[in-house]
Structures are given as structure tokens and as C-alpha cells.
């Protein structure tokens, strides 16, 4: 049993000059941080939290972009015994008003006592504060006095217990901000131990990632695991990666990276968008594993990635899969390194209608399913039906899990925590099946849309659509539609209006696109404005998202034929 500060101290003692991480920037030299520099920087923030009267066990919200301030303030909060929670930074796409509303919502549920941000952003943060709320200090990065050395004995974080909450993870979107996943020191270590063993992580590994730290894949696999395991980390900004995806491959080559994690869309994105001239001389042979996680995993995406980069030393058996969620800290399953994930062909109709994964009948349409691997040694996975009973192998149902690395709870939301479990099993909300111990994930129980690894609630997008003049409440439907080329879902919004005039409808469609994007930072692929009675409703008057998706796809195909 241990706690984060003790582990950091032990790593520091092992060799304070050992590199903890390399931070990469656009148009600036890489910044190397040793454990000594990392802990000095973190101590500065711990000292500042102390000076501001912040108590251990209180929540600190970090509103910072990629860079040393984010790294130092995160670990500084932990050294002080406070609970850090990283909030995504305002982007050019999102309207400041919406961002402020999201921040206020986060504050009202999570009740942080401090927020750490940049001087340029202080006014924006203060604008979201309200009289009598929980925030006592807004700590500004340039006013934090730097410490030249570390006094472990004076840091309050060493008094924390393994079962205490160490951090909060929020998923994205308005609805997501209501649910802060609270994790204990012990849960995180239990995860890192079992996940690390499943990957045979050693000191010789180097983890390279561009993933955002407000997401579990980035925070756990691409930040906590390397730093708490003494494995060097190469970290770049997600915003730099999206404009220059080749930088990931260059970094892997430069630092001899052995492990990286990508959501499914990134395989297609890299395969399609990277130009030869950007990866001349790049060597991907050090890669032991490129792990596909956080979106439904697609064999076709692996093949596209492999074909594109095999001439650069990428090994086929480096392409791996995992199934993970913040509520289990991170990994639930992992495919076995050294082999390739199990891929099987199943009958499409039996899958859709009977909800069973069967071998395809002769001549029937089939679909390829790729396994996400086997459960980690400390995780049990079962598949249940609506009544909660376990179903036989190959029958599709909801995945439920038990482990010693589950969340402590949704922070300040015992109601949601209670609803998430059934008879001691955590209900994932994902559908799938098990075969020969391999877990195959086939989709979401709810209508959640997953775009580029982000979970989006369609009802959030529909509510935003109702705010557009001309659209009435209850007359819009949002859903995701899989895009083969992109390897992820496209977001579709359909809205009914009274006008049948095409120009008028086009104007409303533009207004929806603008309003929804500005308020959700989600880019919409299809916005369709239609006349009355287009949207299909269930007999109880609810919008049937899947029926509307099918209708939309039929019309789209009709357009192409006609």
C-alpha cells in the first residue's frame, strides 16, 4: 500500500537526474524535465496552495494548456494532498459564454476551493465565479514563486492514506461535467500494477503521446503510468498533433518510443494525412505496441495504418487493442503483446436480430469484429441481459465489471454512483460479447456518439439545436453515423421547421451549425433541416434516434443512386 507522494519520493531517490518527461512544443526546443526538476516545480505549486490556505482533500481545478505549468500544478496539488481535476482549456471553436457556463456547472457540483490558470485567463475564470461559491483562490501561474529544492518533510501530501481520493476525471460535454470520477491512490496503483504487467512495462520503455490529459487515456496511460513507473514520457500537445500528425511518428523515432495509445480515428487520420516528406528517415521499429482504445476498434483501421507505415519499420504485431474506462481508472482488457488481436467474421443478421455472434452463413453478409483482448488480472468482466442475469458466451449483452481499481464514486453525486452499480457489478453501458475469454465490444447501450475518442450525449446537441430561432423543442434529433474513411463517427443533426422554403431552411441549417459548434466544440458533418413530420417518434412521443438514423441513411443512399 502506498500513496503518490511516496512513490515520487522513491523515484527521486533512485536518481534525481533521471528523466521524467520530455515536453514537445511547436516551434520551440523540447524541454527535458528530470524527476528533480519535476518535483521542484511541483513543490512550488504545493507551497503556493499552502500559502493560499488550501487544505488537503480539497479540489483544485486546473485550467491550463499543454506545458510545464500544467505538469507542475498537477503534481503540486498532489504533493499538497489536494485533489487535482483538469478542465479542458477554452478553444477558438467554443464560445466564451458557453465555456463560462460549463465552468460554473463544474464548480457547482465539484466545489473546488481553488482554480489555477494563466494571468491572461484570470478574468475569464473570475467571470464564472459566483458570490458564495466554493472557490476561495484563483492562483495565477506567473505569481507562483519557484522553489530551488524540495523539502519532502513539509509537504502535506505525505499524510494522505491509500484509500483517499487522489484525483478527479471529468468526461467532456455539459452532461459529462456533472460526473467527476473520483479515484483513490490505491485504485490507481492497482490499475497501474495490473495494466503495467499486461504490457510487461520495464525501465527500457519510452511512452510517446499527444493525448489530452483531461481524458482517461491521456491522463492514465499517457501521464500517470510513465511518471509513477519511472518510464520516460514524451508528451506533445493535442492541438499540435491534429495539425501535424507526423510529429508523433517523428517523436517515436527520435526518442525510440516503445508504447503509444491512439483512438481508432487516429489510425485513419495518420494513414490518410501524413505525407512522405514529413517522415523521411523515420524509424518505427522500436514500437512494441500501438494500442487502440477509447472508440470501437476496427480491423480496417489497423490495416490502413499498417499498410501506410510498414515501410518505416512498423511491425504488424505492434498493433494492439484495449478496452478502458475512467470508472475503472483505465484499462479493463488488453490484447496480448507479441501476438495480434483476435479478429473474427460474424453473421450480420444474427448479430442485429438475434443478438448473437455466429459464424456467417454461406452467402450471408458478415462483419468483422476485433477483440479488445482479455480482462486484466484484477478485473472480472461478464455480459448480462436486461434482467441482470449473465448470458452465455457469444450472446450480446451489457458488459459489467468488478475490480480492485474501481472509482470511489462520482464526486459529490452518491445518487449517480448508486445507479452505476447492480449487485456489486459496475454497469458499463457498453454492449458486447465474450468468446474464449476475449472481450468484443460492439456498441453503446445509450445513444452516445463517439467522435475522435470523445463521448458526446445526443441530448446535449439536441438541446442546443432548440436554442436556434425557427427550431422548436422536441423537433430535432442528433446521432452518430460511422464513417468508414475517417474511422470514427460523423455527427448528424436533423431539425424540423415549419417553413418548406429551401432558402429559409438553408439559413436555419447554417445557424444550427454555428450555434451547436460554438457551444459544444463539436463539428457537425451533416445538418439537415426538413419540413414538418420528418422526424420519427415512438408511440410514447419520444424521438427514436436509431430509427431516424436509418431513415437518414436510406435518404442519403437514395440521393447517391438517383
Amino acid at each position: 500500500m502506498t500513496i503518490f507522494p511516496e512513490r515520487l519520493k522513491a523515484l527521486h531517490a533512485r536518481g534525481s537526474e533521471q528523466v521524467a518527461l520530455y515536453l514537445q512544443f511547436s516551434g520551440r526546443e523540447d524541454l527535458t524535465l528530470t524527476y528533480d526538476q519535476l518535483l521542484c516545480g511541483a513543490s512550488s505549486y504545493a507551497r503556493d496552495l499552502e500559502r493560499n490556505g488550501i487544505q488537503p482533500g480539497e479540489v483544485i481545478v486546473l485550467i491550463l494548456q499543454h506545458g510545464e505549468d500544467l505538469v507542475y500544478s498537477f503534481w503540486g496539488s498532489i504533493l499538497h494532498g489536494a485533489i487535482p481535476s483538469i478542465m479542458p482549456f477554452l478553444t477558438e471553436k467554443l464560445s466564451p459564454e458557453r465555456y463560462r457556463a460549463d465552468l460554473s456547472a463544474l464548480i457547482s457540483v465539484t466545489k473546488p476551493s481553488a482554480i489555477i490558470t494563466y494571468p491572461e485567463f484570470e478574468a475569464e475564470v473570475r467571470a464564472a465565479l459566483q458570490e458564495g461559491d466554493s472557490v476561495r483562490s484563483v492562483i495565477v501561474t506567473d505569481r507562483v514563486a519557484s522553489q530551488a529544492n524540495i523539502e519532502f518533510s513539509s509537504l502535506k501530501g505525505f499524510q494522505r492514506k491509500p484509500e483517499d481520493i487522489v484525483l478527479l476525471q471529468h468526461s467532456s460535454g455539459t452532461t459529462g461535467l456533472q460526473k467527476g470520477v473520483a479515484l483513490s491512490h490505491q485504485a490507481v496503483f492497482n490499475q497501474l500494477n495490473s495494466y503495467g504487467r499486461s504490457l510487461s512495462v520495464t525501465d527500457n520503455d519510452v511512452i510517446v503521446t499527444w493525448l489530452p490529459l483531461y481524458h482517461d487515456m491521456g491522463l492514465i496511460a499517457g501521464f500517470l503510468m510513465p511518471i509513477l513507473s519511472g518510464v520516460p514520457l514524451v508528451l506533445m500537445s493535442p492541438f499540435d498533433w491534429v495539425r501535424a500528425p507526423y510529429k508523433l511518428l517523428q517523436a517515436i523515432s527520435k526518442y525510440r518510443g516503445t508504447l503509444t495509445w491512439l483512438p481508432n480515428f487516429a489510425y485513419n487520420f495518420c494513414a490518410l494525412k501524413i505525407r512522405d516528406r514529413h517522415i523521411e528517415g523515420v524509424d518505427l521499429s522500436p514500437l512494441r505496441a500501438v494500442i487502440n482504445c477509447s472508440e470501437p476498434v476496427r480491423w480496417e483501421s489497423h490495416m490502413a495504418f499498417y499498410e501506410r507505415f510498414k515501410d518505416y519499420g512498423l511491425r504488424f504485431d505492434a498493433l494492439q487493442t484495449s478496452y478502458a474506462m475512467a470508472e475503472n481508472v483505465f484499462g479493463v482488457t488488453q490484447s496480448q503483446l507479441g501476438g495480434v488481436p483476435v479478429v473474427e467474421e460474424i453473421d450480420r443478421e444474427a448479430f442485429m436480430v438475434e443478438r448473437i455472434a455466429k459464424s456467417p452463413f454461406d452467402g450471408h453478409p458478415s462483419m468483422k469484429m476485433m477483440s479488445s483482448g482479455q480482462p486484466l488480472e484484477n478485473v472480472k468482466v461478464k455480459v448480462i441481459d436486461e434482467s441482470g442475469s449473465e448470458v452465455p458466451e457469444r450472446v450480446i449483452g451489457e458488459l459489467a465489471l468488478q475490480s480492485d481499481c474501481m472509482l470511489t464514486g462520482y464526486f459529490n453525486r452518491p445518487d449517480l454512483t448508486e445507479k452505476a452499480f447492480r449487485d456489486g457489478w459496475y454497469l458499463t453501458g457498453d454492449y458486447g460479447y465474450i468468446s474464449n475469454g476475449e472481450v468484443f465490444v460492439s456498441g453503446r447501450k445509450k445513444d452516445m456518439i463517439i467522435v475522435g475518442g470523445r463521448n458526446i450525449y445526443p441530448q446535449d446537441l439536441e438541446s442546443l439545436t432548440y436554442e436556434v430561432p425557427g427550431v422548436h423543442a422536441g423537433r430535432s434529433v442528433a446521432f452518430g453515423m460511422f464513417d468508414e474513411t475517417q474511422g470514427t463517427e460523423d455527427v448528424v443533426i436533423i431539425a424540423e421547421v415549419n417553413s418548406e422554403n429551401a432558402d429559409e431552411q438553408q439559413k436555419i441549417a447554417d445557424a444550427i451549425r454555428l450555434h451547436v459548434t460554438k457551444n459544444s466544440a463539436i463539428a457537425l458533418r451533416y445538418v439537415k433541416v426538413v419540413g414538418p413530420k420528418w422526424i420519427l417518434k415512438t408511440s410514447s412521443g419520444k424521438t427514436a434516434r436509431s430509427a431516424n438514423r436509418e431513415k437518414f441513411i436510406r435518404e442519403l443512399q437514395g440521393d447517391k443512386v438517383g
Binding site: K93, D240, A509, L514, T517, K518, A521
Partner: protein, 82 residues
């Protein structure tokens, strides 16, 4: 010449990015700051420009400060062609 470039890009954005072939985009309509084109599609647009007009747009330039509407993008292309 600039008009051809402009209509070429307009068509690409309408058909490939917005999936609305009949959609018209006016020359001064904000593309990036408005959220009409997201970061993933922006990359597609840059590759289209590179392939179609033989000019490069560097990754550091893929933001609203470099161009935010068709006129600005067309003149950027023009200036690099010469």
C-alpha cells in the same frame, strides 16, 4: 484566376467537408473562427490545396490568423504560386 481558385475551394468545402453540394459560401464568410471547418477537416483542406494548386500550407499556419475566409485563402494561394 483568383475566381477559379475561389470557386474550386468553395466547391471542395461544400461537397467534401459540409456534405451539402448545393451550399454556397460567400467570399468573406468566416470558416475557422465560426467553427464551420474543424481542425480535422482543416487538415483535409490543406492537403486539397497542396494537391490542387501545388502550394504548401505549413501546419503552424492552420489557424484563423493565416486565413479565415475564401478570399484570404485564395490570395494566400496566389501569393505562393508566383
Amino acid at each position: 484566376m483568383a475566381d477559379t481558385i475561389l470557386s474550386n475551394i468553395e466547391k471542395y468545402i461544400a461537397v467534401q467537408i459540409l456534405k451539402q453540394p448545393t451550399r454556397r459560401i460567400s467570399a468573406d464568410e468566416p470558416l475557422i473562427s465560426s467553427g464551420l471547418i474543424d481542425s480535422f477537416s482543416l487538415m483535409d483542406l490543406a492537403l486539397f490545396v497542396e494537391d490542387t494548386f501545388g502550394v504548401r500550407i505549413e501546419d503552424t499556419e492552420l489557424n484563423a490568423n493565416t486565413f479565415d475566409n475564401l478570399t484570404q485563402l485564395a490570395s494566400l494561394i496566389e501569393s505562393r504560386k508566383s
